[in-house]
Amino acid sequence: MRRYLPIIISILVMFMAGYIVISKKNSIDKTHIKSIYNIGTFKKQHSCIKLPNFLKRLKIPQPVIIDLSQKRYKGIALYFGKNFRNVMHPKQWEQYGYFSTYSLDSLGNIYLVPMPFISIYPTTFNLQKNIYKIDSNTGKLSIFMHFDDIVPSATNPYGFTSIVYDCDDNTLWCSAIDESDYQHQKGVIYHIDIKTKRVLQHIDDIDVLSLAIVKSSKGKYLLAGMARDNSLYAYAIKDKKAQKAKKLLELPSSQEHIRKIKVEAKNRLDIQAIPFSYTLITQTAQKDRVHYSITWIEKINKWRINR
């Protein structure tokens, strides 16, 4: 019997190794949409962004409200002064149609992404292909970058949908959802170097409606609110590259899509959700928005979602 001991041990070891390998492999997340993910503890960070220089030059007092609601002004408008009664809205800021969201950079430039609004005009689809910039010094609105490969259409009029500035490397993270249809998720996240206007990274096949950057005890993350459903994902950013996305949480209703993400306090996110169906019915008014305060509970490794 002792003669066969090495064979028996070898078989046993292989069985054990086999068990470990199989269970380990099965436990690995195979898609970017499955696991619930712990990004560690985080808090509100000091941001490098600043307000545009032209405000100082024009003696416009702070604070100012940047208005993209399109309710009173097309494009972008700035409100300032007592009760925000004064408005800055040069006609030139209407030139490129409607905007959905913006991000400031460390020099005070405003980067904007477009949106289609109510009616489609001959220029509407072309306008969705650009990222726009208001120069910090001159206040002039211009096209910052044009993307020929963004192709809005009658079945999906959207191009760029979100933008966020990354203070660490002077880059922009932007998302576009133009090629997606009912059956296929073909959105893209672009990582763009502002100086060279070069695309540093493409993340394919994900439809993102909102982006934010958060730094936590585990590292730096790009948070992404989905256009297709009610979930929030996180991409770990390592060596300036976004890794695989992991799901953080889902909002209570399937019809709520995250449109705004903000780190509000320690372990707390402020999230705004809207109905979104890839049509021109985009309910952006305050009454259509659902506000959530979402807290990471360290002790139990869970998110608490409060409306």
Binding site: I9, I22, T31
Partner: protein, 635 residues
Amino acid sequence: MTKEIKISILIALIGVVGLTGYWFYPQEPTKKQDDNSHKLVKEKIILPKYDNDVYKNIPEVKSYIDDLKAMIKSGNAVLPLSSDELDTRAKRAQKLLLKDKEFLKDTKDGNKLLHNDMMRILPAIVSTLDAKSQNICQLHHCYQAEKYNFVTNTTTRAIVDTDTLKVLSVERYSNMQPDISLRLTHIAQAIALKAPEVKKELGFTPSKKDITMANVRGTMKDSPCENTTHLCVAPTFSDHQKEQALWAVIDLTQMKLAAAKWAGLGKTTTPACIGERSLQNRYIMKHFCQKNTLLEKNGWKISYRLTGSDGLEIRDISFKGVPVLTSAKIVDWHVSYQEKGSSSLDTNTTSYIEGRRVEFVRGEDDNYLFGYNDAMGCPLFSTSVVLAFNGPQVKPLHNGNGFMLTQDFRNPKWPMACNYRYENRFEFYDDGSFRVVGVNKGRGCGDHAIYRPVMRIDMALGDKENLYSYDGGWKVWEKEHSEHVVDSGNQEVGGSEQLKREYLGRYPYKIVSSLDKTNGYYIEPNHGQFGDNSRGDNATLFATKFKKSEGDRDLLTLGSCCNLKEDGVERYIRDGESIKDKHIVLWYVPRIHNDSRVGHEYCWADTVIGDDGNLHVKVWPCTVGAKFIPIKKEH
């Protein structure tokens, strides 16, 4: 080294190679994932097809509605719980609360009583009590009562000290729904059992024992239903063998089946947080936006689909094997509002209505117009703002002489102001006639509205067609152009007796094949003769030479909303190309003025509180569209 050791090393080596191979071999996650998504897509959604009147005669529903009407008539607004749902103390609490001013504060809108139901009264739960009440309720018997306001979608919770008969607190929770009463549970069950769709899906007539309402509380609170302002529940019929369940979503605000869905019994497919709109949207996308549907009825063969922005489109229509139409659809609704005072109009300042930037156009007689273009289409992935509700429906015509294919489009918030509802309807008659119909159901932003649906009609009379208009004789349209359609019903016409006979007193136009003059259609504009309370089309007719780029595919917004001198189609007739013996496309653009005057409403909708204390939508539709009558039939 012994033989056994060599064998064990070999086993280890093979094992390591095998496991390494396994580790790097791509598992079928995608397949697994695909399987899952496939399963999800395959979940069957059933939308109600039958008239809601089916439910009105259910004894439970009937007696409930009768009670509501009697209650409102007697000046009360809260339907109390019946004694068999209450113990002695709860009865006392109910009696007290039905007279308590604070508890009843939200039961009136002006003089109108609003429908409220007492939902449950039970011993108070500590977690619902404030500190003061907790102290009292430690010593006394406290009860909590919950009532629901069906009109404002608000729950009111009161805490009552049943020993001293005092109301300790009253709190209101807007947009929140309580657990429902036993009576409403029975009504939900009765509706689910009566629903023809449920019976058809189950394949047998269900009884109460087949219904499970697992996790009742959760289901009650967050049950799937339209826009969450209705009180809904989801009685479930489980089929454990097939591991699936039929969820019947019952709308208790409207007493009807809202939708049903087959879903897996697993947690991930539970539709508890999926709204009726989501169910509808998925169903509509899958069945009508992603593919064409074929309808064969009464000799008609019709292919149809929902478009991204051109509403419901019918294609390749034939009658008794003879081609009739290549395509027909409504590509746009121009909406404009007319006001006085264009001389003082400041066009330099942008104006907005309900968040929409509006276009201003100066008109005649000191009038100016403003408004926008509304596209209708698929509820997801489209350039529409007025979205398809339910799928296309086939219904008989009122006179029983044919059928209609119809599709309802709505702004999600209709009938609120500045929201719209349109119906695209195609009527097919047993004699081979057809009618392309646009119906406007209001409500819009106010009165003085002018609606212009742009109808595109591409006949299938061969490659060579001719359009004629009657002017004492049939005159062929040589070139692309447009003209205002005269009211043929009142028009004095000249011409020979034979021509007059052919004109038949009502057909100012005809379109015929160049090769066979009997293969064609007379065009009968609507001036109110079709028995649908229409005030006429007041239309403009355009004829253009067929070009694929001019609307054969989805056409985006066409032209100005508000320039009444143009309908948008003018861009296609600018070159004035010859259309004699050519493939012609007809564009028919009616012009409708809405009316909000009491007793004269037209293209209008309003929400009123009915005799049962509930909100009811009243609609005064306006219907437009010309009828096409086969020439062969008239001869």
